[in-house]
């Protein structure tokens, strides 16, 4: 009797869905508040900050990195990482410069950038999915390889034979102070958010990152997904290279050095778990805004770039530490 009258098993509340949602919400809210706080602080500290054109200039600080951060978020959610994106950009930029120097028009230059990025991404994908090299190790190798190819092709030279219409992608404005880069970033962010959060593909990417073996056993083609995310990330790095090269108007083999770490910082600050399986595109967008706001605000105050690195580093550790200490348990790493 007593067994029957005791509370049934179902009395255990089904916490899973609401709990995840609350956790997600809290992370993005935390980021949003920090962005807002920094925005207001910047307004108070510098009288030049709150101006449409100033803010538009500020957006150039982060849009290129943020565009690459979107597919990087997908990759990290899927449980892999790519630290060769900066080198991919350099290689793409150098080849674009050579195509431009050969007298070919802007469309060819852009296609070159995208294709080189795509090939680089596929190469990483093959290393990880076919040869089973851990992604961090594989991309440490290609990091030197791609950058090395860039140096091997033009040495310490500069390529700047770009046609005038090429400048639009990195310097053009769509409407008033709204730049092409910013519009592109917003469009891509919406696209990525839809794919990741509203489609089967997105759910599968989470599943792969949360538990690749269970994902494989439930019929998801894990390697195929990972490969295509690597390819997509490579091509987006190529796109980033088009934008950066267009903005700078010239190519050096040292272009975008160290960007891989900045992009990864952006992604992790956005609440994507480095272990995979967690995070949202909204978080990445907010963290891009945050990094953009903080660095631009500080540079308005004449803080040198290398000191900004301290701020970014502390921001990364600080925000992640806070989330870890308030029990954002997903960030705990393997016991």
């Amino acid at each position: 009797m007593s067994i029957i009258s005791s509370p049934p098993v179902a009395a255990r509340p089904a916490v899973r869905t609401p709990f995840t949602w609350r956790r997600l919400l809290r992370w993005e809210v935390l980021l949003g508040l920090v962005v807002l706080g920094d925005f207001l602080l910047n307004c108070r500290l510098s009288q030049y900050f709150l101006d449409p054109w100033t803010l538009s200039d500020a957006s150039f600080n982060f849009t290129e990195r943020a565009i690459i951060a979107l597919p990087m978020a997908l990759l990290i959610i899927a449980g892999e990482i790519d630290i060769s994106v900066g080198s991919t950009m350099a290689m793409a930029s150098v080849l674009m410069g050579m195509v431009a120097q050969a007298g070919l028009g802007t469309p060819f230059v852009i296609v070159t950038g995208l294709v080189v990025g795509l090939i680089a991404g596929c190469f990483n994908g093959v290393l990880v999915c076919f040869f089973r090299v851990p992604s961090i190790v594989a991309t440490i190798g290609t990091l030197s390889l791609f950058r090395g190819i860039a140096y091997a092709l033009i040495g310490d030279g500069v390529l700047k034979a770009y046609k005038p219409d090429f400048a639009y992608f990195g310097q053009g404005y769509v409407w008033g102070p709204v730049s092409f880069e910013l519009v592109l970033f917003v469009v891509l962010a919406v696209l990525f958010a839809i794919v990741l959060h509203m489609t089967v593909i997105g759910r599968r990417i989470y599943a792969i990152g949360a538990n690749p073996i269970a994902a494989r056993l439930s019929g998801i083609r894990v390697d195929s997904y990972k490969f295509w995310i690597f390819a997509l990330l490579g091509m987006t790095a190529g796109l980033g290279s088009v934008l950066l090269t267009s903005r700078l108007g010239s190519t050096r083999p040292s272009i975008a050095t160290g960007w891989e770490l900045e992009v990864i910082t952006m992604v992790i600050l956005g609440g994507i778990s480095i272990d995979g399986g967690q995070g949202s595109i909204l978080g990445v967008v907010l963290s891009a805004l945050l990094i953009g706001c903080v660095t631009f605000g500080l540079s308005l105050l004449n803080v040198p770039g290398i000191v900004l690195a301290i701020v970014t580093g502390c921001l990364l550790i600080g925000v992640v530490a806070i989330s870890s200490m308030v029990g954002y348990s997903g960030r705990r790493r393997r016991g």
């Binding site: 990482i81 090299v133 390889l145 040198p304 301290i310 870890s324």
Partner: protein, 332 residues
């Protein structure tokens, strides 16, 4: 190839890599006898000693399933601080410099370690952050200025070059670090625990090993070695500036990976790391001798690292990613 050889003959990874390194050395020597001139070999050993030291430190961290991206930045910051200390107190002698370098490096490593152990942030996130912070601090403490050889005392500069039994003190320090690391890993309880903590954290936790503490210990050791290497680097190249050893952390990890250290923890040894460092060092030093333009050198070493990494991939096949229940089991 090291792996192929090893599998064919049933030899450990180190044997294959050792053979490959010797083969590489022989090939370069046959083509360019100038390569084995004593002076060149000495400089090779000096260069490689720094890489090997940092790689040994990195190995401790990799063994515990963590990664330390901040070693080069740590070396740069410590190197700058001892250079400034030396510029301020040129008469203080060499002992305080060494003590400051090791203690400060260990303290920076402790920051990493505590964040990983106590705050439970993944090591790659922690060291990605401290990499920027340490690098920025170099700029802050130096005000962006260089410390040149003119500001360094003769003892500060001369100590690392002092020849003892044919090779420099710098190389000897590399040898001593490697030997101590070998003994530590082989014969002390803490050393064995490092392997256990990385090989199977859950089992280690049940066996009474505090995995977090082991990770912290690994970071402190890595930091101390990085600090020492920071002084040696600054003294060897006779200049300290913000970008010292910039990006070197990736070469350090590459040396470990080529040396057979598994990025997924628990596998690897000092001998392999030393050979991995030598392998990279020989390539780096041979390329200019062979007459390859400096602009091609990065591409070639990148290619070699990529190939070596693919060939080593077999090492990882055994440990196929995460186990299904690992997360559920994770002990507190």
């Amino acid at each position: 190839m090291p792996n192929l050889l090893a599998r064919l003959k049933g030899l450990p990874h180190e044997a294959g890599l050792g053979l490959l390194t010797l083969l590489l050395l022989a090939l370069v020597t046959i083509a360019f006898p100038r390569f084995v001139v004593i002076d060149n070999l000495k400089s090779l050993v000096d260069d490689t000693a720094l890489l090997i030291m940092l790689a040994v430190g990195e190995m401790f961290v990799l063994l515990t399933r963590s990664v330390d991206l901040s070693v080069a930045a740590n070396a740069a910051l410590t190197g700058m601080v001892v250079a400034l200390f030396n510029a301020g107190h040129p008469g203080a002698g060499i002992v305080p410099v060494l003590v400051i370098a090791i203690v400060m490096g260990a303290a920076l490593g402790l920051i990493n370690g505590l964040l990983v152990w106590k705050v439970r942030i993944p090591s790659i996130v922690v060291t990605l952050g401290t990499l920027s912070v340490f690098r920025g601090c170099v700029y802050v403490v130096s005000g962006g200025a260089w410390v040149n050889s003119g500001q360094m005392s003769p003892l500060f500069l001369g100590f690392v070059r002092l020849p003892v039994l044919g090779i420099s003190v710098l190389s000897w320090i590399g040898v001593i670090v490697a030997v101590l690391a070998y003994l530590f890993l082989k014969y002390t309880v803490s050393g064995r625990n490092l392997y256990a903590a990385g090989n199977n954290p859950n089992a280690a936790a049940y066996a009474g090993i505090d995995v977090g503490r082991m990770q912290c210990l690994a970071f402190v050791l890595s930091g101390a070695i990085a600090g020492l290497a920071g002084y040696l680097w600054v003294a060897r190249f006779a200049v300290a500036y913000t970008d010292v050893a910039s990006g070197f952390e990736l070469q350090v990890i590459a040396a470990c990976v080529i040396g057979g250290v598994s990025i997924t923890g628990g596998v690897g040894g000092v001998l392999g790391v030393v050979l991995g460092g030598l392998f990279l060092g020989i390539i780096k030093n041979a390329l200019p001798v062979v007459g390859i333009s400096p602009f091609f050198q990065m591409a070639v070493s990148g290619l070699v690292i990529t190939i070596a990494v693919i060939l080593n991939a077999g090492t990882y096949r055994k440990s196929h990613g995460r186990k299904i229940l690992e997360r559920a089991e994770a002990a507190p």
